[in-house]
């Protein structure tokens, strides 16, 4: 249950940061437009980081909690770890892949002669399968890395 909250916070932060970066670098919006949401996104990242740290600290007594805390401290101490937290990677993993592949599967089957219902069904199936796989991928840094670190 605690991991769900951590993943939620990662996704929210990553989405906020990704949107701000998109607005600034891709759309080329000026500081007056992008700075207020960027400051809010920064506040979100900082508050979420403190929340995650506290959550892991509470579960430190359990074996899993201790490993996760070790992982978090390692993440906090490395530049790459920080980049992972701030990047849109969790969002892309969680939403981008399933939606993109589902749309691709639906369009592909429709173009190749399948009916609309069959195409939607294929897209839905692709979404469900990739959602599960993406969920596992997202859990990699939270579940496997502590093992490696220990």
């Amino acid at each position: 249950m605690k991991q769900t909250e951590i993943v939620f916070l990662f996704v929210v932060c990553a989405a906020a940061v990704a949107l701000c970066l998109h607005g600034w670098l891709v759309v080329g919006q000026g500081p007056i437009v992008i700075l207020p949401p960027a400051l809010i996104a920064l506040a979100l990242v900082v508050l979420s980081a403190v929340r995650v740290f506290r959550t892991l600290k509470i579960t430190e007594s359990t074996a899993e909690g201790a490993l996760q805390l070790a992982y978090w401290q390692a993440l906090r101490g490395s530049f790459l770890g920080l980049l992972w937290c701030l990047s849109a990677a969790p969002l892309l993993l969680l939403l981008g892949y399933p939606i993109g592949l589902a749309v691709f599967a639906a369009v592909y089957t429709r173009v190749n002669g399948a009916g609309a219902f069959a195409a939607v069904l294929t897209g839905g199936l692709a979404f469900a399968v990739v959602w599960v796989v993406a969920g596992k991928l997202l859990a990699v840094p939270l579940v496997l890395l502590p093992g490696w670190l220990s």
Binding site: F8, I32, P36, P37, I40, R51
Partner: protein, 505 residues
Amino acid sequence: MLEALGGGIALFFDPTVLLLVALAVPIGLVMGVLPGLSGLSALALLLPFVYGLQPMSGLAFLLAAHAVVSTGGSLTAIVLGIPGAPANAATVIDGAPLREQGRHGEAIGAALAASGLGGIIGVVALVALLPLLLPVVKLFGAPETFTLALLGVICIAIIGREDPLRGLIAAALGMFLATFGWQRITGEPRFWLDFDYLLDGMRLVPIVLGLFAVPEVIGLSVEAARRNGEGRRESSRAEVSHGLLAPFRRPALALRSSLIGVLVGIVPGVGGETAPFLAYAAAKKRAAARAATGGGDNEVFGRGAIAGIVAPECSNNAKEGGALLTTLALGLPGSAGMAVLLGGFLILGLEPGPDFLDAHMDIAIGLAITLAIANLLAVIVMIACAPLMLRVLAVPAHFLSPAIMVLVVIGAYAVANEPYDVLAVFLFGLLGWFMRAYGYSRPALLLGFILAPLIETYLHISLRSHGFSFVLQPGVLAIVAFLLAGLFWSRLWALLRRWSSRSGA
């Protein structure tokens, strides 16, 4: 002021307003009677239907429904021993023993009269304090409004939650969601990702319905399943009539409890559940003190004391008057329900904040009258229809929940005939369910969403006119000091008491 009073009375006695109030009161009462649904759900469900109405009509409709929810909830608290609304939790303490003793009719009467009386005292306090706040809010410029709105969101996110951090995260998320769509200052669209729906930004109604109605409907099913098989008890009119006199036999208790309610309501962000418990605790303490001196009416709190019904019921209706005061005067909602009501302000084209009172004092007075009349009407409706209201509880949740969900979907779609709004309701419903499960404050998210455009605009104006030195304006410093004192008053009070006890020794 007299002109505003006349204007307010004229606004209230408009036939449309009267009709809408008469319609809203039974809806609010039914919402209160059903455990699992609260005043927030009532407001969320009714919010889409105020589009196109005159501001006074729409706000009166929402306020009347919200204000009477706890009156309806008292019935469930006494008859079933389950709080119909969160604000009725304290009523259960003495309501359940009174039911066991077969005095539930008297308890219902006492609860109804106390609710009505508390509501009226709350309105009197509101009308008395509004003119005092008017000269203060007239001094507010852009820096003061910005500071008040920003710190108000932070205070509301922090106060009243077990984990302030989760409240702050929710508020920040709400503020971020508000940045989608056209920016007010430059007119440039933000985060629309070539998706036309996002050009106008996130719409308020799907957010409110998703955050507050969808999780509550699910909660209703769960609660209904839990109370499955519980019987209900009938009560005679004579017993109810006897109970109706209870608060008038204890005028000091009713007044004191109502004032506690008003004060708690004024403090932004303190949950509606706090006031009844504070009033109950104060009444219990006073009864114990009187019993020690040989006075009092020998009622034992927690074992079926009518005073234990009067105190919480007076305070939970009176708190709406206090909560409405800060909502109208400062744009800072005193309770979660008032945060949704602020959304109603936006939908009806009114901007919440210090300017509101200056420009629309007549609407403020009209809303105060609405609050008083709705409370009285609720008592009359409940006395007449209490057995009928109890029958609502017998409707199986598997009929009720889908019916309410259909209302949610229709409400979301009807606002702009936009199918994506329906999708948004379910996405925000998911978010709302998650927030409820993990203890994230949903009102904080909503308030952040509502006040973020105001904060951004006034920050821009403040920076343009004063530069960064606007933070040193006397008004800004005073607001910061006031809100910090409010935030840490309990610690300050403890320090002062320790200091005074040391100096006394």
